[in-house]
């Protein structure tokens, strides 16, 4: 029926996850006899066959691939540094690490009063220039 569902109900929210049988069949033991010990360790995990079972695509141009990898290495090497560059959603605190002095007594106060973990409490205090009252007020009124 075309009745609209209340927005709190997610489609398919009640169905549990199903796992394809392939998951199990990919566990078939390979002949480990002639393999060196180290290689045999490769199937330590039950899901060991992921990579092996996928044959490389035949249409792959190995030359182009080599080039692509080179490009990737360039950008890959630089990526961690400019991780925040194109990203709107990455965490901002990396940039504004001001040198805020935080009193350990305040941290303890916050962990006790607000049931926060230490790093969180410190972060909260830093965001409010180490002012415990302001930090706690912000925490209490946050939606």
């Amino acid at each position: 029926m075309a009745e609209p569902q209340p927005s709190s109900v997610h489609e398919g929210a009640t169905t549990g996850a199903e796992i394809d049988e392939n998951e199990a069949t990919s566990n078939i033991p390979k002949s480990a006899e002639d393999r060196a010990t180290a290689a045999a360790m490769s199937s330590l995990d039950t899901r060991g066959a992921e990579e092996e079972s996928v044959a490389p695509s035949k249409q792959l141009d190995s030359e182009a691939l080599g080039k692509a990898m080179k490009n990737l290495n360039v950008s890959g090497g630089a990526a961690p540094a400019k991780a925040t560059g194109g990203a709107a959603a990455t965490a901002p605190p990396a940039e504004k690490k001001k040198a805020v002095k935080v009193d350990q007594a305040d941290v303890t106060l916050l962990t006790e009063q607000l049931s926060l973990a230490k790093p969180k409490a410190t972060e909260l205090l830093k965001a409010h220039d180490g002012d415990a009252v302001r930090a706690m007020r912000a925490f209490v009124t946050a939606a």
Partner: protein
């Protein structure tokens, strides 16, 4: 120093791994022990033995062994890897990541360790770490497509859209020739790239890209839907209109398409009614069997137009005998005019007024058809008068009785009858009637579950389980209940738990709620397999959807309901530690000695009974165990061994030393994922104020007042908060008080006279029972001497015209919690019984 194996032992070691792979654990252990006899210090073998023990479910033996392995061979990546795997099995992912990283440092080339690490990082949503791992994997094996896709996912989820897109494009450019048309992985990867472009906000480019791939893509529906959506959002109305019309040609029963088409045409449901009507009429004409084009107009039509359309719609549905007709229509009842019109129309049908003009040939109808129509109409009316917005239970009963007379074997009709009893508040008769409906079709699982649910509502837990057992695999460990838990049958667990909570059997109640809590853990766990599986299958869009769903999985109503009930149980346990031993039969905190004595005697009896019950259960369990062992010996050691639940009665849960701390486990999830449920906030207040965490209590009050500043529970809590703060034995830390001084005034102006504040609230909501109850509750906190007066006022709420049965029951509970005199309670119950003569709650004092 690590020992070095002789060639013979080394080959034995390979055997161990082989056995582990083949899940031949016993053989594996045997071989490992053979090696260890000669090389007792060999780290890798010890580690493998630990891993196998863990796989056998003996993790308490596995851990010390793995640690010993590490002591013997700190430099072995095998030992570290195993150590990580053991932590993973314990679900301590942080420790597991640490161990994997160690292993990886010793053996940077190992793809297995790298992969295990990556999977864990995704599970922990460590996107930066995942990206690093994925980059390494990609560099090791660039020829595999899924490595590229995974790299893109890493960037995408970290919010780096351009990077993600670039990775996918780079791979596409390496392809010599276009992939074959049946290459699903390619088709999916390309669409995935498209969603990334769209999510980055560049719809123009997303549209262009989509059009470039639309011809060859395999998921036609997705392409068309995305295209229509982009066009609409880009404000290219006429193209969007065409796109939505194309979609409707494929499926004219899908509401979102109509919504899109309306928007594309610039039609507003509040203004352009005529144009919309024509639009829907056209679709209705072309799709005579479709529901949506006929049903949607009822949402926006008004006046005579509505009457005509509704008459036609209802007549059509009812003459077809569509059982879900009422369910499909009831959302219109929020509009009084529509509700009354529908009532008129269908009552007209019942009195023989058909819509003859619409399908002229009424006379041709056989008598059977006429009967079917009649019972459909009666059924509709019974549901109509049973619905909370149009409730008249007497009429509902009369209609359903007539309907049952016409078709005495109808499961649906009896079910509705049970529902009517439920709304009368008579859980006993509701349960009996539903059971009767069940016997009409014992093979129907739906009615079976309904019957069980109604039995639980009537606290017949055993009967309910017996009914459920007709559809469960009863040879599972733990019997039918064990199977229900395995199958994650949450509605049952929830109703069962709530029933036990009503009966004040806290152990069993908490047991059920804890099970639900654990099921959500399992759901969180379940995604683990998909981190590798989805990549292998190439179903990336669905995978990303799944990840996002997992992030908010605990906002599910099942979780919040279980959490609220669990918190209620724990706070009650905190307030009345005596409850641990079983229900206090007559209210809590009975203060007159006589009642207390009677209580104690009865409680003793109840305890005795409970003990006996437990002994019986244990004896049964013993017997079952014996039987099972016999079966097991024949079945052999293979197959998964399931651990028996060591505490089926939940005794350890109920005997907790710190009930509030346990409540916090539920509360934290609840407040994180369902902060918009006001009851979550008020429940949070109850926990925090008892814990003395006043700032967190205040946070809950503020959040609740943002949701509904006039909420009755909130009102009473604000007063209690202030009152508690005023009478603290020790002053709060100065910073804390200054926070409270700064923030509390938004809820309660400084220097407010609490009594006056309360009376004002009372006057403002004099017609609402829930508000009255809360204000009276507050008055009692403020002025305990006015007991008699307050109790009388509470009884007076029973006379309010709009008080509901639930509220009246709530009032009785309140009265009990005040330890009111027996006479007072009896008077209340009598007054309530007069108003709700059928309600089980008021059958006896």
């Amino acid at each position: 120093m690590p020992q070095i194996l002789s060639p013979k032992d080394a080959s034995l070691f390979r055997q161990v791994i082989k056995h582990y792979d083949a899940k031949q654990y016993k053989k594996g252990i045997k071989t490992a022990e053979q090696i260890l006899r000669k090389n007792p210090q060999h780290g890798d073998t010890l580690a493998m033995k630990a891993l196998i023990l863990n796989a056998q479910g003996k993790n308490d033996e596995a851990f010390p062994l793995a640690k010993e392995a590490l002591r013997n061979d700190m430099k072995s990546h095998v030992c570290w890897h195993v150590y990580g795997l053991l932590w993973r099995a314990e679900k301590n992912f942080e420790e597991a990541i640490k161990a994997y990283k160690f292993a990886l440092r010793l053996e940077p080339e190992s793809p297995q360790i790298q992969r295990d690490l990556a999977l864990l990082q995704m599970q922990m949503r460590d996107f930066q770490g995942y990206a690093t791992s994925r980059r390494a994997m990609l560099q090791a094996r660039p020829q595999i497509r899924s490595n590229w896709t995974a790299m893109a996912i890493a960037h995408h989820l970290a919010g780096e859209y351009t990077e993600a897109e670039k990775v996918l494009t780079t791979y596409e450019e390496t392809l010599k020739s276009p992939p074959s048309k049946t290459d699903v992985e390619h088709s999916e990867a390309v669409l995935y790239k498209n969603t990334i472009i769209a999510e980055s906000g560049d719809l123009e480019r997303a549209l262009k890209h989509l059009e470039s791939i639309s011809k060859t893509n395999l998921d036609k529906t997705a392409v068309m839907e995305m295209r229509a959506d982009y066009l609409l959002r880009l404000d290219r109305k006429s193209e969007a209109e065409k796109a939505y019309r194309e979609l409707l040609d494929r499926n004219a029963d899908y509401r979102p398409y109509y919504d899109g088409l309306e928007k594309a045409l610039g039609l507003d449901k509040n203004k352009d009614k005529q144009a919309l009507k024509e639009l829907y009429d056209e679709y209705a004409k072309n799709n005579p069997r479709g529901d949506a084009p006929k049903r949607v107009p009822l949402d926006f039509l008004e006046g005579d137009d509505f009457r005509d359309a509704a008459t036609q719609y209802l007549h059509y549905k009812l003459s077809k005998g569509v059982p879900s007709c009422f369910v499909n229509i009831k959302s219109l009842y929020t509009d009084d005019f529509k509700k009354n019109t529908i009532q008129d129309i269908v009552e007209g049908f019942a009195n023989g007024k058909g819509v003859r003009e619409t399908n002229g040939s009424v006379e041709d109808k056989s008598e059977e058809d006429a009967n079917a129509f009649k019972s459909a109409v009666l059924y509709f009316l019974a549901q109509h008068y049973n619905y909370y917005l149009s409730r008249d239970l007497q009429k509902a009963t009369s209609y359903i009785d007539q309907a049952i007379e016409l078709s005495p074997k109808s499961v649906d009709f009896h079910m509705t009858k049970a529902r009517i009893w439920k709304h009368y508040g008579n859980t006993q008769k509701a349960s009996e009637t539903m059971e009767q409906a069940r016997t009409l079709d014992v093979k129907d699982r739906y009615i079976n579950t309904k019957a069980a649910k109604y039995q639980l509502r009537n606290d017949e837990n055993e009967a309910a389980l017996k009914n459920m057992s007709k559809f469960t695999r009863n040879e599972t460990v733990g019997g039918p209940l064990g199977d229900l838990i395995d199958m994650q049958c949450m509605w049952y667990l929830l109703e069962d738990g709530e029933s036990y909570l009503r009966q004040q059997k806290f152990g069993l109640a908490l047991k059920r709620f804890k099970t639900i809590h654990d099921i959500f853990d399992v759901w969180q766990e379940d995604q683990f397999d998909f981190h590798s599986f989805s990549l292998r299958k190439g179903e990336i869009r669905a995978y990303v959807d799944m990840l996002r769903w997992e992030d908010t999985v605990r906002s599910h109503p099942f979780y919040s309901r279980a959490a609220l009930s669990a918190i209620k149980a724990y706070t009650l346990l905190h307030d009345h530690p005596k409850l641990v031993n079983g229900p206090l039969l007559d209210g809590v905190d009975g203060d007159d000695a006589e009642a207390d004595n009677a209580d104690a005697a009865e409680r003793k009896k109840a305890q005795k009974k409970a003990k006996k019950e437990q002994q019986r259960l244990e004896a049964e369990k013993e017997a079952a165990k014996k039987q099972q062992q016999q079966q097991k010996s024949t079945a052999g050691a293979d197959g998964e061994t399931k651990k028996e639940d060591p505490d089926p009665q939940g005794t350890t849960l109920v005997q907790t030393k710190e009930p509030l701390k346990d409540a916090e486990k539920f509360l934290n999830h609840l407040l994180e994922f369902s902060p918009k449920i006001i009851r979550a906030q008020t429940a949070g207040f109850e926990v925090y104020i008892r814990l003395g965490k006043y700032l967190l209590a205040l946070k809950c009050l503020i959040a609740a007042s943002k949701l509904d500043s006039q909420d009755p529970v909130l009102h009473e809590q604000i007063i209690r908060f202030r009152k508690t703060l005023d009478s603290l034995s020790e002053p709060l830390p100065p910073q804390v008080s200054s926070v409270i001084d700064a923030e509390l005034p938004t809820l309660l102006p400084k220097d407010t006279d609490l009594a006056k504040f309360n009376e004002q609230f009372l006057a403002r909501h004099a017609q609402s029972a829930a508000h009255m109850q809360a204000a009276l509750q507050a008055r009692r906190v403020l002025n305990p001497d006015a007991k008699a007066d307050i109790e009388k006022s509470l009884s007076d709420t029973l006379a309010l015209p709009n008080i509901t049965l639930e509220q009246a029951q709530e009032g009785l509970a309140t009265l009990k919690s005040w330890a009111a005199d027996k006479t007072k309670r009896e008077a209340y119950v009598q007054a309530a019984a007069k108003r709700w003569p059928e309600a089980s709650a008021f059958q006896s004092a």
